[in-house]
Each structure stands twice: as C-alpha cells, then as structure tokens.
Amino acid sequence: MDLATLIFWIIAVILVGSALMVVGLRNIVHSAVALILLFAMAAGIYVLLDAEFIAIVQILIYAGAVTILILFALMLTRITGQQSRTNPTNKQWWIALVICTLLGVSIIYAATTSPHAVATVGSDSGQLPAGINNVVRIGQLLYSPTQYSFVLPFEIASLVLLVAIIGAIVIGRED
C-alpha cells in the first residue's frame, strides 16, 4: 500500500460514483456530463497503470470527442425545459439491479481467481527497456514490421473508420 494505491482508491470511488450518476440522474444532459467525469477517471486509472498514451487518448477521444457527439445528439432531439424527466426509468429497475449485482460479483470472482488475474501475473513483465516509453512501444507494436506487430489490424481499422464516415453521412443526410 502506498500513495499510488491511495490515488487508485480515490479515483475508483469517483469512477463508480459517476457511473451510478450516469445511470441514475433524471436529466439526460447531466448524465452526459457525469459520463465525462467517468471517462476522465478511467484515464486516471490508465495513468496509474503507466499507460500514459492510452490515458491521454482516452481523454482526447472519449471525454473530448464522444461526449461532444452525445451532447450534439441530445441537442438534435427535443429537450424541453429542466422540469421534464428526460432520462426516465420504469418499474423494472430492480431487475436490472439484481442482474448488475450478479454480473459484478461474477466479474470480481473471475478477476481474483483466474490465472490471468492481475495479482497472479508478475509485475516485472511490463518493464520496458530504457529509452522506450509507452508511446514508442505502442508505435512498435502497431507499425513495426520486424517484431510481432498489429500492422494488418491497424490497416483494417482504417476500413472500420471508412464505414463510420459513410455511416455518418447516410444517417445525417438531410434530404
């Protein structure tokens, strides 16, 4: 237990709290803002895992771009006043609660007992050689032809993005 652990717990509590706010708040714009907090806290967790690049990209793409998209989408649909409950729930919320609890318990069980659990994997496996920070490492993994790399998935990702562009145009067509 050290400072990093303390920071982890602070972040984790805020993260779970904001996640509950996303689900529970009555005004859907407030939910979207809570979502930003959630993404930022997830970035904090990444930083604690020494994955700086992923953390920054998390803030850039999710907290910066995806939530803007969500807010734009909310502006697109009609929102009348604060009084109306724009993020409604119905009588079945307790079923969802039970399912979520079961799911959460099984995830915790799996994460603590599985051979791939964080606790059972040695902490030395993630050490990078000197002079190689994690941006460089990601670059090597994604683009380098000499070592094991994800060149093909990276190129295929561009196809996914292409489909996303065309989908955006088709959905957003005004005529």
Binding site: I61, A65, R78
Partner: protein, 117 residues
Amino acid sequence: MATTLPIFIMVALAILFGVLVMVITTIIGPKKPTPEKLAPYECGMQEIAAPKRRFPVKYLLTGMLFIVFDIEIVSFYPLAILMRQLKVFGLIELLVFLLILMVGYIYVWRKGAFTWE
C-alpha cells in the same frame, strides 16, 4: 509515477481553483434578485420565445467526422515518432491508411457535408 504525480496534483489544484473562486463569488457578491434581472437576455425586450432546443443535423455530422479523424490523427503520433526506424514500410503503411480514409473524405466532400449555409 514520478512524472505523472505532479500532473495529478496540478489537475487537482486546477479543479480546486475553479471551485474555490465560484464559492467565493457566491459569498462576497451582493444579492438583490428581481424577476427582470434574472430574465434571459433579449436586448431589453420581452423574450418572444424560449430557445428552441432542436438543432441542425450538421452539428452531429461534424461531431461524427471529428471522432473518426481524431482517432486517425492520434494514431499518427506513434508512427511519426518511429518514422526513421520504419523507413519505407512506415510510409507505405501511412499511405494505405490515408488512401482508405481519403475515399471517405472525398465521399463526405462530394456529399456536401463541409458546406455550411
């Protein structure tokens, strides 16, 4: 941790500053609200209509294109760092990636999504 801890502290202090100033201003400022003072600004006139909260789909479209291009651009940075090592292979990777995206870009352009008003 050594490089990131000061950033954590900095972010925390920044949030603290923002919140603190807001709290101070609610304490020291005078408060004499009148209905006219609190009315939404409308150049001194009576407000004719409450804001119509529906917006053109163009904003949403811009947002979607932004996400796609943002992901693309962020993935350039690890490539740019290693440009000298990757040599021709890196450039070809970049070229293929860009060419595929350019198809979408030109499609969006021809569909007139960049034309506002």
